[in-house]
Symmetry: C2
Subunit: 212 residues, 2 copies
């Protein structure tokens, strides 16, 4: 699968590396400097390029930029019509301390308004990037930790599910994109759990259903 990474920081850098290691054709884009993209790409046999190159003929695109960069990266990305876009961006303020879109809407819904013909799937926004490699290293061990995943396009979700499994996670279907208004705030609670509470940042979670 050809995967374009828009935003090659902590989240995008790590996921892109893991997907590359899992055998996908990954193109990194949108970092502060091109040298970082080239280094990332070189380390895992991936490509580095412009946003346009990353999304060209991509089977899936990961949007992993800071909220303040959304207009810029979307302008570079064009209309994204028909593209599968995995989104782990949260609508954070410049100091990353609060959400700037409230529970009457959500970052995911605002993005979908900006690009209504893209096939949005939200995922990985409640998973600290520090968990990715530890999960990948344990891939195949049951029970797998999960990734909350939500969106309105069933086919796009299936594609996201596959990419999530590639990392070693199990996708957790959290319904439609409107649930972003409930899950995005929760991502702030996972920040508390990962970085404030003891035990280190490699937080994982798993939801299960018991029988009576």
């Amino acid at each position: 699968m050809k995967i374009g990474i828009l935003g090659s920081g902590l989240m995008g850098g790590k996921l892109g590396r893991i997907w590359a290691e899992a055998g996908h054709d990954v193109t990194f884009s949108y970092a502060r400097d091109r040298a970082k993209l080239d280094r990332l790409a070189g380390e895992v046999g991936a490509s580095a390029g412009s946003v346009a190159e990353a999304i060209e003929e991509a089977d899936a695109v990961l949007l992993a930029v800071h909220w303040s960069r959304r207009a810029d990266v979307l302008e570079q990305a064009g209309d994204l019509a028909g593209m599968v876009v995995l989104n782990c961006s949260l609508p954070l303020n410049d100091s990353d301390s609060a959400l700037v879109v409230g529970t009457t809407s959500s970052g995911a819904e605002e993005l979908a308004k900006l690009r209504p013909h893209a096939r949005w799937v939200s995922c990985f926004n409640t998973n600290p990037s520090e968990s990715f490699y530890p999960v990948f290293a344990r891939k195949g061990q049951a029970p797998a930790p999960q990734v909350m995943t939500y969106g309105d396009d069933a086919g796009a979700k299936e594609i996201a599910f596959g990419l999530i499994r590639d990392v070693g996670f199990e996708p957790l279907d959290c319904g439609g994109l409107h649930n972003a208004r409930f899950i995005e705030p929760f991502a702030m609670a996972t920040v508390e759990l990962a970085y404030v509470q003891p035990g280190g940042p490699a937080l994982t979670y798993r939801f299960d259903k018991l029988r009576g």
Copy 2:
């Protein structure tokens, strides 16, 4: 421990029963009709009474009323000064379809403003009541499912932790009460997971931290 249940519906009724079965001295209060309280109490050797009776000399109080009843139940409860209050109420609108307090505040914080001298702990608001008995039936089995628990009073949290363990859950410390603004919205996502997604409503979760 003497425990007062304010609001004896799905949440309060079940938790009160389990705590009674675990050996605590439970008083149910605040149901639509007194007969329901008496029936609940009779089934598990607990007591039924007024809100004032439920909180009198209580070591812990569970607030489990609908948001629309908060003013009424708090008026009956008095100032709650120094009382340990476990709160699983969410600031829901009358149709339970949306939160009426946004991410710039939270139900837990608003309640703490109304009764600033009570020792608030939020918990159980991300756990469907349908999970309580299945968890209780598996009590002692590792790994235990968790209850997100947060508040600003360390001593009150310790008391809540004990009551959570009594049900068979492991308390998950989610930091201070301000995190309510992130966790309360998430409770709406657990509604999706429990009642919309397949597998039944007895949803449980567990957060773990991996090592690199």
